[in-house]
C-alpha cells in the first residue's frame, strides 16, 4: 500500500507492505535509524517514537498505522538544534552505550510536555518502560530533571 507521513519534518510517501512493522520501515526504508530495536515485543522502549506527539513503540506498530501521521524520532526531536532533554542527557552523563538513548529522549521529551515540573519519582515512573542496561538510571533521571529546568527557563524567556 501507499503510505504518507511526516517523518522528522519531511514528507514521506512509500509503497510498502502495510503489515510491516513501523520500526523496520523507519530504519530500513526511510534510513532513519534513531529508533532502535531491543526486544521487538514492547518491553524495552528503545524503539519509541512520537506519533502525533504521543510516545509509541514502533516495534508494536504497523507501517499502515503511520499513514497520515506526524512521526518524530530522536533525530528530529529538536526544532532548531537538539532538544534540551538531549543536551541534558549528553551533558549530565545519561548516555553510555547510547543504544537506549533515542528512545529515552523522545519519551522524556513528551513527558516533560505533560509534566513540566516533575519529581524524581515521577521521572522514574515515566521512564519505567525504557530499559537501560548501562547507566543504572541515576544520571538519566538527573538529566530529565535538568531538562525540566532548562525548558522552564526557555519558556520563561518566551513569555
Amino acid at each position: 500500500m501507499i503510505i504518507s507521513f511526516v517523518l522528522d519534518g519531511e514528507e514521506q510517501t512509500l509503497d510498502v507492505d502495510g503489515g510491516l512493522r513501523a520500526v523496520d520501515v523507519l530504519r530500513e526504508y526511510c534510513g532513519v535509524t534513531a529508533p532502535k530495536e531491543g526486544c521487538g515485543t514492547g518491553e524495552c522502549g528503545a524503539c519509541a517514537v512520537l506519533v502525533d506527539g504521543e510516545t509509541r513503540l514502533s516495534c508494536l506498530m504497523l507501517a499502515a498505522q503511520m499513514n497520515g501521521c506526524i512521526v518524530t524520532t530522536a533525530q528530529g526531536l529538536g526544532t532548531d538544534g537538539p532538544h534540551p532533554v538531549q543536551e541534558a542527557l549528553a551533558d549530565l552523563g545519561g548516555v553510555q552505550c547510547g543504544y537506549c538513548t533515542p528512545g529515552i529522549a523522545v519519551t522524556a521529551a513528551e513527558f516533560l510536555e505533560r509534566n513540566p515540573d516533575p519529581t524524581r519519582k515521577e521521572i522514574r515512573d515515566a521512564l519505567s518502560g525504557n530499559l537501560c542496561r548501562c547507566t543504572g538510571y541515576h544520571k538519566i533521571v538527573d538529566a530529565v530533571e535538568d531538562a525540566a529546568k532548562r525548558l522552564q527557563k526557555e519558556h520563561g524567556r518566551g513569555e
Binding site: G38, T73, A90, G93, Q96, T135, G136
Partner: protein, 761 residues
Amino acid sequence: MLSTQTIGSRSRRFDAPEKALGRERFASDEYPESMLWAGALRAGVPHGLLRGVDTTQARAIPGVVAVLTAEDVPGENRQGFIHWDMPVLCGTKVRHAGDAVALVVAETRQILAEALLAIVLDIEPLPVVDGLDAALAPDAPLVHDLETGNVLKQASLRKGNAQAALARCPVVIEETFFTPQQAHCFLETENGTAYMAEDGTLHMTVSTQAPFRDRFEIGRALGLPPDRLHITAPFLGGGFGGKDGSTVQCLLALAAMHAGGRPVKMWWSREESMLAGYKRHAARMHFRLGAEADGTLTALICDLDYDSGAYAHLGVEIMALGLEHSSGPYRVEYLEANGRCIYTNNPVAGAFRGFGVAQVCFAFEGMMDRLAVRLGMDPLELRLKNAIRQGDKNGVGVVMTGSTGMAECLVGLQDHQFWRSRDEWVQSAPPLTRRGVGISAVYNGMGYGRGLADAAVAKIRLTGDGRFRVYNSVSDMGQGNSPTFVQIVCEVLNQNESQMELVQPDTERSHPSGSSSAGRTTYTYGKALIQACEAMRDKLLHRAAMVLMADEASALSLVPGAVRHTSSGRELPLAVLAGMLHPEDRVCIGEAMMPVTHDMPDGGESFRLGFPHLIFPYAAHLARVEVDELTGLVTVCDYVAFTDGGRVLNPQNFEQQVQGAVAQGLGYALWEDCVAENGQLRTTDFSTYVIPGSGDLPDIESHAVETEEESGPFGMKGIGEVGMNGPLPAVASALLRMGLPMIRAPFTPERVLKVLCGGNS
C-alpha cells in the same frame, strides 16, 4: 596561555551528543544496498544425536539464496578462542537447545523466517544433563566425550597447609552458596553485516568486543586466512562480556561466503540472544573459614563448581579467577581453593563483567557476615581489621605492590551517615517491614593477568587540516574508553576537543590492542596513547622549529590549534604545519604492556592463561534494604559505593561505570535468573527475564577513593568490573542482619518468604 586541562575534570563524553541525537551508527544500523538476511536454525533440543537435516523444502522457497549445514563449513568448524569445542554448525551432536544446526540466507526477513520453519530436523534425544548434580552423577551422560566425565577442568590452589591450619582455628564457619546464570541483556542484540569482496577479502561490521581476535576465531573455524578478514567494530550497544568471543561472526562469515558477493545481515532477536548468547556461570560454592577469637582470618578452604553449559568458552579462565579471588580482599594466610568447571546441557556460559569473581564475592562476604555474627563483632570493623593493604600478600600469595585502597574504601563507609545512623534507621521500620543495612568489601583483578600479553598499540594522526584523529583499537561497548582517549590527547597535546576526531576499531586502520574486557581498556591503550601523543608533540615541535626559526624545540610549545614560539608569541597553525608534512609523517604510534606478577601459588601453574593478577581495583558498598514481611519483597532504598580505581580521569565517566555496575549487580541480587528446566530455557525474553527498570532502583551514590596507581596512565586503574561484585553481598549482608540468611541468589520474594517462615533459601 590557554589551558585545556581535561584529565580529572568532569567533562561531557565526546560521543554523547551524537548518541543523544540518535545519529550514532551502531552495527545494527547498517543496511547495505542489495543486502540479504541470514539466520540460524536452533536445535530446540538440549541434548541429542543429529540424525539428519532435511533442507529440500527450504531450498525450494523462492528468495532463498542458500541453506547450509555442517557439511558446508570449511575449516575446523570449531569456535572458542581457547578451547575450540563449539561447532559453528552442529554436525553430529546437539549439546544445548540453542545450538545452531542450519544457516539460511534469504532475500528478505519474511522469506528467511519461512525457510527456517521449513527445515526438518531429525534429532534422537539423549538424557539431559540439567545442572551440576546431574553432570557429576556417577552414571551421568557425557556432554563431550571426556575421560574426566563432564568435568572440563579441575584445579586447586594452595597457600600453606590450610587443612591443618583450619583444624587449629578456634572459630570455624561453614556454608554453601548458590548463584544463578545471569544474562547480559545488552540492549543491542548480537548482530553484524558482512560481504565477500571479489579479491577474496571478507569485510565485516560487527558488534564485537574483540575485532582483532575475531579474525583468528573466524579464520580458524572457516579456514580463511586472517589477513583476508577485515573487521570494523563501531560503538556497541552494550557488551558486558557477552560480545567477547564469536556470536554472529562465524555464521555471518559463512553466510557471506555463500552470498555471491552480496552483503548479508544477521541480527539475533531478543529471544535468540537469550537462548544462544553467552551467560554468567551459575555456581555452587562451599566455604569453610577459620579465624582467631579476635576475628583475625587464618585459613580458608573452598570448593567452587561452575556450570559451563554446553561449551567451554572461557569457563576455565573464569573458574581460575574465582579461585584467585576466593579469599576476598583480605589477608588470609592459608588457602586451599578447589575448582571444577563442568559441562551441562544448559546455555553456554562465558565472560560477564566480574568474570568469575562476582560469584565468589557473595560467598566470602557471606562468610565475613556470619563470622561477625558469631563473634559478636561489628561487620565493618571485622572487614577493616583483615583488609589487605599495600605490601601484604593476597590470598594466593601475590604481594600487593600497587595501590591498595581497600581499607580507605571501608573507612569512607564507616564515616558515611547511612552507616552511622544504621540503628535508628532499622528501628524506625514501619509495621510489617524489616530493615537492614548491609555492606560488602570487594575487589577484582584487572587486565589479562599473567601468561597472556596484555598489550596495546595506539595510533594518532595529525590530519591534513590540522586536527588530531585518534584510532581507537579497543571496542567501546559504552564504558567510555574512547571518549577518555580523546581527553588524554587533549591533555597531552594541549588541544581543545573541537580539534579531535575519533575512529572506532578497524583492523585495517588501527593496530591490535586486545579485547574490550577485564577492565583493561583505558589502562592499557591509555598508556600506549600517552606515548604516541608525546612522540607527536616532540615531532610537531621539531618540525615547527624550522618555520618558527627556533634553535631548539624547547623554545616552542603546543597551544590549541598551533605551535607557539613561547617567548615571542609567534604561532604556526597546525593546519599549515600539517600541509608541510608528508601524510606518513603525520602519524605517531605508541605501545604499552601491562606489568605482571612473578609470585605464583602452588597449583597455579596448571592454568595457562590469565592468572594471577597484580593490580586490583577495590570497592566497599552499602545498601539500605527493606523487606515486606507479608510478601517477602525486597526493596533497596539507598545505595552507596566507595571505589578505589586509582586516579579518576573523568568523574562523570567514573560514576557512570559505578552506577551501571551497581544496577546490574542489584539485578543479579534480586531478579535475574536464567531458569532452565530440563535444559529448556524458561526465561526467554524481557517479560520473563527481569532486568531492573528505572522504578526498581534507588539513586546510587558514588564516591571515589583516589589512590595513585603508579603504573597506570595518570595514575588510574580500571573499574569496569569491580562495581558489579558489591551489590549481591551487600544486599545479602543486610538481609542476614534482619535474621534472613540467604544462600541462594537471586533473593526473590518466594525465597525470602520461605526464609521468613523459618525455611531454607
